[in-house]
């Protein structure tokens, strides 16, 4: 599980805590590198360690969140806790000295994470939605829902790439592949069906971004 870490030379305490919590830190020089250095299986989240200039760190965090659609955790010194109230654009924060168990829980909550269930299958969770990637079964509130293959793949794509706006063409090429001639309106049809199957209270997880596409989360 990879996390992007800014600044590129974080404190050794943070690096040790991330490794201890089971994450692989990948330093990034700037906001753009979050995109270029993204590993195959995607980021769990980005971690921004605030230095003397709290505003600068918070700004980088916000930009990462906006431009790359991943969750951001700030690492702050206790003395600046009050200042954090002035900034938005992050999902959570931890205070130094870092508690490894706390870091694991907070990062875990930010990333839509994959966990192993009792049978050893990989399960993706979002809210009360569970996607078992070994058996292709989906459930909400432990009630199974019947998804077609493409509905399953689309939902999995959304859960794995939350908080980011995707155009219909992007979704089509990433989920359906390039040889599909059904056209990008097919994405609308599937989103509509997913919303219906997820149920009224969860339908808003997939938001329509006018004249762009869709966002999940």
């Amino acid at each position: 599980m990879f996390v992007a870490v800014y600044p590129p030379a974080p404190s050794s305490a943070l690096t040790a805590a991330l490794l201890g919590a089971g994450f692989q830190p990948v330093p990034v020089d700037d906001v753009a590198q979050v995109g270029t250095r993204e590993p195959e299986q995607g980021w769990v989240a980005a971690v921004v360690e605030l230095g003397d200039d709290v505003g600068l760190g918070a700004l980088v965090g916000r930009k990462i969140r906006e431009e790359h659609g991943i969750g951001v955790l700030l690492v702050a010194d206790r003395t600046v806790t009050a200042d954090l109230g002035e900034f938005d654009g992050f999902d959570d924060f931890v205070l130094t000295p870092i508690d490894v168990a706390e870091l694991r829980v907070r990062l875990g909550r930010i990333g839509s994470k994959a966990v192993l269930d009792s049978a050893g299958d990989e399960v993706l969770r979002f809210g009360d939605l569970e996607l078992n990637t070994s058996t292709y079964q989906a459930s909400v509130g432990s009630r199974p829902i019947d998804l077609t293959y493409m509905e399953y793949e689309l939902l999995r794509f959304f859960v794995e790439h939350p908080n980011r706006v995707w155009s219909r063409e992007q979704i089509l090429s990433k989920v359906w592949g390039y040889d599909y001639f059904g056209g990008s309106r097919t994405v609308d049809v599937h989103v509509r069906r997913l919303r219906a199957k997820l149920g009224e209270s969860r339908a808003s997880w997939i938001t329509t971004v006018r004249s762009v596409g869709y966002r999940f989360g």
Partner: protein, 448 residues
């Protein structure tokens, strides 16, 4: 995404795992014959892996319009993307998949209607278009499947069967369809007694053809569960409107609705105008496919809200092509409505010839004739001829004659289906001509 395995492998895996996890005991493999009748054979989960990998062989000579004896062996290859658990079998232990039919050497079988539609859609895709269809499906509920249609309601004051009895059947059908992933936008009781309508949310044409075949079965299954009979016969009641399958059509280029043009007073692009012109120009040739039964032409007569003249208009229920008004700014819903088809057509073939006709108009930039409202009904035959307005084929024989000389329909259907269709339907017309009807007996026997 898991990129370690190819998409087809993952699809197969999805089907196999779902069958296992959900305790599926039978998988029905579906395809249609040339006339659109649903064919099905059931296999057990044990046979599924082989079916998915290689296809299942069957004797093609047993299917109407399929192979001649010399090419008897066919393979049915299930399309895992269409895997669905059927909602109406008790316990939910049956699932279905649509199949593509291939010859033993793996080539697509030219007599497979699903392949015919795929081929036409691929052609549209080469021109940059995807084709979307949203149908309005009409049908009747009768008390039983006997030769005399017994309506469930007449809407009279003291009817023993109140009007809303059928609401329950309709609701159960909609729930079943939702479970099958076929969203219903709208449903209501129609004009005629015992007649109902389901409007399905548009999808790409191949999915919609699958959906229509599934919906016809779902409507009949739910009716059967309630001890009644549902029919898609185009004109079961002589004195009332028949059942149509109005088709809302649009072409998209990527994310753009290719039918929309903001600066046009009707909101129609050149593509849309060409498509309508193509439909009007070739309407006569394609009608045998969109209205394939002797009975289909009993619906296409004056006075029953069905089109008879090859005209277009914005808001006129008698035109063959109607351009529905769309809400301001609703660019994506710009579409045209083709109103002659009936619900007893083979949707794969009907969509194929409709698309071919429309695209011919787009590619060759046919000129769209002026809009024609209800005036067409009050014109004399001479005035209509002078205005260049043609009538749709008046019966199956006329329709077959128009189809026979159509290069467009031959190319759209392919030689195999084209020739079999004509042979089969000529035979149907001959049988009909030899039949002495109740009309003749009642009208002539007492007086002649």
């Amino acid at each position: 995404m898991d990129t370690s395995r190819s998409a087809p492998d993952r699809q197969r895996d999805y089907v196999l795992r779902t069958v296992e996890e959900r305790g599926i005991r039978f998988v029905r493999l579906w395809f249609t014959d040339v006339q659109g009748f649903l064919k099905s054979f059931a296999i057990t989960p044990a046979e599924l892996e082989v079916a998915l990998a290689e296809g299942l062989s069957f004797d093609g000579t047993s299917i109407d319009g399929f192979s001649r004896v010399s090419e008897a062996d066919m393979l049915a290859r299930p399309d895992p993307a269409t895997f669905q658990i059927l909602p109406w079998r008790r316990g939910g232990d049956t699932a279905r998949m649509f199949c593509d039919i291939v010859t033993p050497d793996g080539a697509p079988f030219p007599g497979d209607p699903r392949h015919v539609l795929r081929r036409n859609l691929e052609r549209a895709a080469e021109l940059g278009y995807s084709f979307y269809v949203g149908p309005e499906l009409e049908y009747f509920y009768f008390a039983d499947a006997g030769p005399e249609p017994k309506v469930l309601d007449r809407g009279g004051y003291f009817d023993l069967t109140p009007l809303d009895v059928a609401q329950e059947y309709r609701r159960d059908t909609i729930l079943a369809l939702e479970k099958l992933g076929i969203p219903v936008e709208f449903s209501h009781h129609e004009v005629s007694p015992s007649q109902h309508e389901l409007d399905l949310r548009y999808t790409d044409a191949l999915t919609m053809a699958d959906n229509l075949v599934t919906t016809r079965l779902a409507v009949k299954e739910v009716a059967m569960e309630h001890g009644i009979y549902a029919t898609f016969m185009p004109k079961p009641l002589e004195r009332y409107d028949g059942s149509g399958l109005h088709l809302h059509l649009s072409l998209f280029q990527g994310d753009e609705n290719a039918f929309h043009e903001g600066s046009d007073p009707y909101g129609l692009s050149k593509v849309a105008r060409g498509f309508i012109a193509g439909l009007l120009h070739h309407a006569g040739e394609i009608t045998a496919v969109t209205n394939q039964w002797v009975n289909s032409y009993k619906r296409l007569v004056g006075g029953f809200d069905a089109p008879i003249y090859e005209t277009w208009a914005r808001n006129d229920q008698t035109a063959l092509v109607r351009v529905p008004t769309t809400k301001r700014g609703k660019i994506d819903s710009t579409r045209i409505e083709y109103r002659s088809p009936d619900p007893a057509c083979n949707p794969y073939l009907a969509f194929s010839v409709i698309l071919a006709a429309g695209l011919a108009g787009v590619e060759n930039a046919y000129e769209l004739p002026p809009e024609m409202g209800e005036d067409v009904l009050t014109m004399s035959a001479g005035e209509r001829t002078a205005a260049g307005i043609r009538r749709l084929p008046a019966n199956l024989a006329d329709a077959l004659r128009a189809m026979e000389s159509s290069e467009l329909v031959r190319a759209a259907l392919g030689d195999h289906v084209f020739e079999w269709f004509l042979r089969n339907k000529h035979r149907e017309w001959r049988d009909y001509q030899q039949h002495v009807s109740r009309f003749e007996l009642e009208e002539y026997l007492p007086v002649l």
